[in-house]
């Protein structure tokens, strides 16, 4: 991990390792993930299901079932405090307060038997000791901020009285209620239709300008990240395989996995491909910690070293790091798709 010269780092994560005990053995879900998030930055975390993107984020705030989960090592510095070493009681004060969360499915993450107003004011009363009337006033402001019409009248409605897109707006309002320094959004638009997704992305862009918090946006959708993130981190099988400024990642992807992932997506303009490029095979099962590159079995560029040693993330150019022997040793130029 490069030492970061910037002093405006909000969260600094180093070598987080998380494993799960299952009936089949120990699953190596996260294998030493490090990254920084700077003030006001939006970091996109991209990967397929099972790549460890969600588990990494949940490890930071210990929102994992433990056991079977275990955070084996690593640190996560947030406002001078190592979250990994912090006990659950102290973490309770940070979760939903200085660190806000938005989850994928707003139907299952909102309580169906409590009013939206109650759920919105819960965090305020817990973290800020606001009085009931002050909290309600703030709740109305928050609902207006996320674009819910007639906010005042809707406080006493239940989640089922809102549509999917509106429920996700409520989730965002809850996440923002205590002015978080950092917002972790885990697949927040995956369950929504494209037109509603466009509304939410538009809202997030405006909110970022107004409130200026740092955001970690976890998704499998490379399209969503392209139009939102400042930097992108690509994960595969519990490792960060590539990290770059958004322009660089899409224009000159270095890791064969990133490259292949971008090529499998059908184009919305121009010539239509005769045949989609596909990545053959499947992601590895994670019962053994790989001592070789995890992508090697599916990689079109793999050579001997890839099956012998696991590459570490290394600097390739300003704001661009990649973990790939092919890039480091052969370094042949490759065109972006």
């Amino acid at each position: 991990m490069l030492s970061n010269p910037d002093s405006d780092v909000v969260l600094s994560v180093t070598d987080v390792v998380t494993q799960f005990d299952t009936a089949d053995g120990r699953v190596h879900a996260v294998n030493g993930v490090s990254f920084d998030v700077r003030e006001g930055e939006l970091l996109g975390v991209v990967g397929e299901s099972g790549c460890g993107k969600t588990v990494t984020m949940m490890s930071l705030v210990k929102l994992l079932p433990m056991p079977p989960g275990e955070i084996v090592g690593g640190s996560a510095l947030f406002e001078g405090q190592d979250l990994i070493q912090t006990d659950i009681d102290a973490l309770q004060k940070i979760r939903g307060g200085r660190i806000g969360f938005i989850f994928q499915d707003p139907m299952t993450s909102l309580n169906p038997v409590l009013t939206v107003g109650y759920q919105l004011t819960e965090a305020l009363r817990l973290h800020k000791n606001s009085s009931k009337s002050a909290a309600r006033q703030r709740a109305v402001e928050l609902l207006e901020l996320v674009g819910i019409p007639m906010a005042k009248d809707r406080l006493d409605d239940y989640p089922h009285q809102f549509s999917g897109g509106m429920r996700q707006r409520v989730m965002i309002a809850i996440a923002l209620s205590c002015d978080p320094k950092l917002l972790i959004a885990d697949e927040p638009t995956t369950a929504l239709d494209v037109t509603i997704q466009a509304q939410i992305l538009d809202l997030v862009k405006t909110l970022r300008q107004e409130l200026g918090m740092a955001i970690i946006w976890v998704t499998h959708d490379l399209g969503v990240v392209a139009n939102l993130a400042d930097r992108v981190m690509v994960m595969y099988s519990g490792f960060v395989v590539e990290r770059a400024d958004v322009e660089k990642l899409y224009r000159t992807p270095k890791h064969p996995y990133t490259y292949a992932l971008l090529r499998t997506l059908p184009e919305m303009e121009g010539e239509r491909a005769q045949r989609l490029e596909s990545i053959e095979g499947q992601p590895p099962d994670q019962l053994q910690r790989p001592d070789s590159c995890p992508f090697a079995p599916r990689c079109a560029y793999a050579f001997e070293r890839c099956t012998q040693e696991n590459p570490l993330l290394e600097f390739v150019s300003e704001g661009h790091e990649v973990a790939c022997w092919w890039n480091m040793e052969k370094n042949a130029p490759r065109e972006a798709s």
Binding site: T195, I196, L222, T264, A273, S278
Partner: protein, 329 residues
């Protein structure tokens, strides 16, 4: 909405409506009607791949199921190889069933976890044909091979396979009776990006090799552009635009199609920043209480007063491009 094809259509859907009653109270009195599919017309030609796109709740799955007669349509005609399915006796319909198959969205839910892969694939064979013993097991192995799975896997259970492999099992099952027409209902929505391309390529190869006709239902506009030659856009139970894929994606006419296309995030930050976006306000209205006139008018950025009074008729723009919008006149 027909097309300028030389061959006879394989499937003709004529003014099909599927209304579900809403009941309430102890006596289950009908209090309303959900108009899931509300007057759909289109033709499908042999070896064609028609894409059907729309947001969740627009009626695309219901339309697919109605075409296969899993629901009896409230109104309209469905002609498959010139036989009107709505008029057929159950026995005659059953004889036609092998020719029409379906691939479902979620391979997790559509495969019985207690059945082996071999028996899952054999079920339609046992139901509709008389092949036995050696011939039957050869056919199963042949089908597994055709979808790129190891033929030795016949005795394994669905949970032993990954999502992409399970979808291949679902495809093998659909191919068993040599169908001519397959409805693919969101076949890749539940799969990871790197696996989606594998399954789409397989479906394309099979179409080429076996001369299949697809109705490809999806909300993924990028994938539909890749796989379908013609595309129908559905909104609130109606087809609002239908045309050749290249026309529809480069010169869409209906305000809904335009908004839908502009909402798809591009995987290119440069083009994304320059793009003009149309962000629709609000949500899809409930099909139990649809707006008067044009169904899209409540969210339409260019709606006029006449849009509230009458439903626009589909208008032919040439080259098989149809659009239902008052502003086209």
């Amino acid at each position: 909405m027909s097309d300028t094809h030389l061959s006879e259509p394989l499937l003709q859907v004529k003014n099909v409506k599927q209304h579900f009653p809403v009941t309430a109270g102890l006596l289950r009195r009908q209090v309303g009607m959900v108009k899931a599919v509300d007057g759909v017309d289109f033709d499908l030609f042999p070896r064609e791949n028609l894409g059907l796109v729309g947001e969740s709740g627009c009626g695309k799955t219901t339309l697919g199921r109605t075409i296969l007669h899993l629901y009896r349509p409230t109104e309209g005609q469905i002609l498959f190889k010139n036989a009107d399915l709505t008029l057929l006796k159950p026995s005659a319909l059953r004889a036609l069933r092998p020719k029409m198959q379906m691939i479902f969205q979620d391979p997790q839910d559509s495969l019985n976890p207690r059945m082996t892969v071999g028996s899952i694939i054999a079920e339609p064979l046992d139901e509709h044909s008389i092949i036995k013993d050696k011939e039957r097991s050869n056919r199963i192995e042949e089908l597994l091979d055709a979808v790129g799975l190891n033929p030795r896997y016949t005795n394994r259970y669905p949970h032993e396979f990954s999502g992409g492999q399970r979808q291949r099992i679902g495809i093998a099952r659909a191919l068993g009776l040599n169908p001519e027409f397959i409805i693919c209902d969101e076949p890749i929505a539940a799969l990871d990006v790197s696996i989606q391309a594998q399954v789409v390529n397989l479906l394309e190869d099979l179409q080429e090799k076996l001369g299949l006709t697809y109705l490809f239902i999806s909300h993924d506009l990028g994938m539909i552009r890749h796989i379908s030659k013609r595309v129908a856009v559905m909104y609130l139970g109606k087809i609002v635009e239908l045309g050749p894929a290249h026309e529809l994606y480069s010169r869409s006419q209906h305000p809904y199609t335009k908004a839908l296309l502009s909402a798809v995030p591009l995987h290119d930050p440069g083009r994304e920043a320059k793009r003009e976006r149309i962000i629709l306000s609000g949500d899809v209205p409930s099909p139990a209480n649809p707006p008067t006139g044009c169904p899209f008018r409540t969210r339409c950025p260019v709606a006029e007063t006449r849009c509230a009074t009458s439903m626009p008729e589909p208008k032919n723009l040439g080259l098989g491009h149809w659009v239902a919008c008052h502003l086209m006149e």
